[in-house]
C-alpha cells in the first residue's frame, strides 16, 4: 500500500483530475447550461491535441500559435456539427455527435501520414521523434518549475509543476464560465435549456445561441486536449474513445448539472476512484490479475452513478428543489 503515500502519484492523479475538469467544463456549458446533448465531446479534445501536434511537427509552427489555431479549429468543428443538427430535435444532435466523435477517431486511425495512425504521435514524423511536438512546452514547464522552486524548494517536481499549471487554467476557466453563465448571454443559454419556444417567442435567436454554446464548449474541450498532449507527451486515437465523453458526463452529474464549481469536485472524485482502484489489492480482490482489477474501476464508477441517481440525483452541488420543477 506504499503507493497511497506517494506524493508523485497523487500529483499525477491531480493533473488528470485537472485535465478532466477542463474537459467536463466544456460539456457543462453545452449540456448543463444549454441542454445540448453532445455525446461526442471527446472529438473536440482529439481535435485540439492532434491539430496542435500536427502543426508543430509538420508545419513547424511555434507551439503557442499552433495551440491557438487548434482551439479555433475545434470551434469551427463545433459550428460545423451544430449547423445541420441543432435546429432538429435534441436526440438528433445526440446521434450526430456520437457519430462525429467516432469519425474523428477513425480519421486519426486511418490518415496515417497526417496523424501517425493507430500508434499515435510516435509515428507522427517517424521513429525517435515521438514527442517532438512537446519540446517548447517542456521548456516552458521547466521555466515554471524554476519559479515554483523559489517557493517550494525541492518539492517542486515536474508533476507538481504541471499540477499547478493545469489547475490555474482550470480555475480561470471556471471563474470565466461562472461570469458568462450569469451574464445576460448565459441567461439566454439557460432559457434555451428550459424552453426553446418561449425563448424564441421573446426575440432570442435560439439557433445562434446553441451554436455559440457548442463552439465555446468545443474550445474548452480543445484546451483539455492540449493539456492532455502536454502531460502525456504521446497520445494515440484510443485515448479518444467514446468512454471519455461518458466520463465527462459522470463528472458533470456527480458535481451537479449547471454548477460550474461542481465540475472540479466531480473530477477529483472521479480521478480518485479511477486511480484508487489500484489499491484494491487486498484479498479477495488480490486473486484478480492487475488487468482484471483495472476493470473494477469501471464497475465502481457505474455503481457510484447508480447510487447518485438513486440518492442524490441533483449531484453534489445541485439543488434538490430544482429536480421537481416542471
Amino acid at each position: 500500500m506504499s503507493g497511497l503515500a506517494n506524493v508523485q502519484f497523487w500529483a499525477f492523479v491531480g493533473v488528470v483530475a485537472g485535465i478532466y475538469t477542463i474537459f467536463a467544463l466544456g460539456l457543462q456549458l453545452q449540456f448543463g447550461f444549454t441542454g445540448l446533448l453532445n455525446f461526442g465531446h471527446v472529438a473536440f479534445m482529439a481535435i485540439g491535441a492532434y491539430t496542435m501536434a500536427i502543426l508543430v511537427v509538420k508545419v513547424e509552427w511555434p507551439l503557442w500559435l499552433s495551440a491557438l489555431v487548434a482551439i479555433a479549429v475545434s470551434m469551427l468543428f463545433g459550428l460545423i456539427i451544430g449547423l445541420p443538427t441543432v435546429r432538429l430535435r435534441a436526440d438528433y444532435l445526440a446521434i450526430t455527435t456520437i457519430a462525429f466523435g467516432e469519425i474523428i477517431r477513425f480519421i486519426a486511425v486511418n490518415q496515417q501520414t497526417l496523424t501517425g495512425g493507430p500508434q499515435g504521435t510516435i509515428n507522427l514524423t517517424g521513429a525517435g521523434r515521438a514527442s517532438s511536438y512537446n519540446r517548447e512546452w517542456l521548456d516552458f514547464q521547466g521555466w515554471a518549475q524554476d519559479q515554483l522552486e523559489v517557493i517550494l524548494g525541492d518539492h517542486a517536481t515536474r508533476d507538481l509543476t504541471m499540477l499547478v499549471l493545469v489547475w490555474i487554467v482550470a480555475v480561470v476557466l471556471i471563474v470565466l464560465l461562472q461570469f458568462m453563465v450569469h451574464s445576460p448571454w448565459g441567461r439566454v443559454l439557460r432559457s434555451v435549456r428550459e424552453d426553446e419556444d418561449a425563448t424564441s417567442a421573446l426575440g432570442k435567436n435560439v439557433f445562434s445561441y446553441k451554436l455559440q454554446a457548442l463552439a465555446v464548449g468545443a474550445a474548452i474541450g480543445a484546451i483539455a486536449g492540449l493539456f492532455f498532449a502536454f502531460q502525456f507527451s504521446f497520445f494515440s486515437p484510443q485515448d479518444f474513445d467514446p468512454l471519455t465523453t461518458f466520463f465527462a458526463y459522470v463528472i458533470v452529474l456527480l458535481g451537479g448539472t449547471a454548477k460550474n464549481w461542481g465540475v472540479p469536485v466531480g473530477a477529483l472524485i472521479f480521478a480518485f476512484i479511477f486511480a484508487g482502484t489500484r489499491f484494491l489489492d487486498f484479498w479477495p480482490l488480490s486473486e484478480l490479475t492487475s488487468a482484471d482489477r483495472a476493470f473494477l474501476r469501471l464497475i465502481v464508477v457505474g455503481l457510484i452513478l447508480i447510487g447518485l441517481m438513486a440518492f442524490r440525483p441533483q449531484g453534489i452541488f445541485g439543488k434538490k428543489e430544482e429536480m421537481v420543477l416542471e
Partner: protein, 281 residues
C-alpha cells in the same frame, strides 16, 4: 414616444392555410387588425385560434397565404425575428422557464440588452451592466403590476397555473411591443386582477398606441374591452365587427350552437368555458 396614428391596418392576413394531417386547422383565414386597437379573437374550441397565433408568430409555416405586419411580410420569418419587430405573443399553455427565477424570466424578455452578445459582453461590459439595471427596474415594476413581485426570487416552476399566466403577460410586456397577441390571458386569473390587467392594457393602448389581439372565451371581457371582435370557426373567419354587431350575427350564433354552446346571449358561453388547459398549444 409619439403616439402612432390609430387608423390603418397593423396586421393583415389573407388566405392563410394550415393543415395537420387531414385536419384543416386554418382554412383560408382572412383578417386584419387595426393599429392601436384592442381586438378580440373568439370562436368555439378547436376553431383554429391558437393555430393562427402560431402561424402569425412564426412557429408554424403556413402552406398558403400572406401575412403582413406593419406593411412587411412576415410569413417566412422565424419567431425571434417577428418578436424583434415588435409583435409579441403569449402561449395558451404557459411556458415558464421553470428552473429560473421569476425575475430572470422577466429580465430575459427585455430587448436591446447588449450583454446578450458575447463580444459586447467582453468589450462593452459597462453598457451591458447599465442596461441590466434598467431591465431590472422595469421587471420589478411589471411584476408589481401582475402581483408577482413578492415571488421575484422564487423559481418560476413553483408558480400556480394562474400565476404562470400572469408571468406570461408580464414577460410579453417586458419587450415593449407594438402589438401583443394574448392567448387566453385571463384563464385562471382571479377576476378582479383580470380587470386590473384590462385597465393596464387600455392604458398602454392610450399612452403608447399598443395594439392588442386577444383570444378570450369570457364574453363579458370580450364585450367590455374590445372595440372589434373577430370570430373564427373551423379554420375560417366567419364574422368581424363591433361587439354588438357580431353578437347578433346569425353565422356566429350558429357556430356556437353547432358545437353545443349558446353564444347568442352575451352571458351564455362565458361561465361554462373551462380553464384553458386544452390539448393544443
Amino acid at each position: 414616444m409619439s403616439v402612432p396614428e390609430r387608423n390603418g391596418t397593423i396586421l393583415e392576413l389573407s388566405d392563410v392555410v394550415k393543415h395537420f394531417g387531414g385536419v384543416a386547422a386554418v382554412a383560408g383565414a382572412e383578417l386584419d387588425v387595426r393599429r392601436g386597437s384592442i381586438t378580440a379573437l373568439i370562436g368555439p374550441n378547436g376553431a383554429g385560434k391558437t393555430t393562427l397565433f402560431n402561424i402569425v408568430s412564426g412557429f408554424y409555416k403556413p402552406e398558403r397565404g400572406v401575412i403582413s405586419f406593419e406593411g412587411e411580410r412576415i410569413d417566412r420569418k422565424p419567431p425571434h425575428a417577428i418578436a424583434q419587430r415588435g409583435l409579441v405573443r403569449t402561449f395558451q399553455i404557459t411556458k415558464a422557464l421553470t428552473k429560473m427565477s421569476v425575475l430572470e424570466n422577466m429580465m430575459l424578455a427585455a430587448p436591446h440588452q447588449p450583454g446578450e452578445q458575447l463580444w459586447r459582453l467582453v468589450f462593452t461590459p459597462r453598457s451591458a451592466r447599465a442596461r441590466e439595471r434598467e431591465v431590472h427596474e422595469k421587471a420589478h415594476e411589471l411584476l408589481k403590476l401582475v402581483r408577482l413581485d413578492r415571488l421575484a426570487g422564487d423559481y418560476a416552476g413553483t408558480l400556480s397555473g394562474g400565476q404562470r399566466k400572469l408571468l406570461e403577460f408580464g414577460r410579453a410586456l417586458m419587450r415593449d411591443p407594438t402589438m401583443i397577441m394574448l392567448d387566453e390571458p385571463m384563464a385562471g386569473v382571479n377576476p378582479s386582477l383580470g380587470l386590473e390587467l384590462l385597465d393596464h392594457m387600455k392604458r398602454l393602448q392610450d399612452e403608447r398606441g399598443t395594439t392588442f389581439l386577444l383570444i378570450e372565451h369570457d364574453m363579458e371581457v370580450v364585450m367590455n374591452v374590445s372595440e372589434r371582435v373577430i370570430v373564427m370557426n373551423e379554420g375560417r373567419v366567419i364574422s368581424a365587427g363591433p361587439p354588438d354587431e357580431v353578437r347578433r350575427d346569425q353565422a356566429v350564433i350558429d357556430a356556437y350552437l353547432g358545437t353545443g354552446r349558446g353564444a347568442g346571449e352575451p352571458s351564455a358561453p362565458a361561465e361554462e368555458t373551462p380553464p384553458s388547459e386544452g390539448d393544443t398549444a
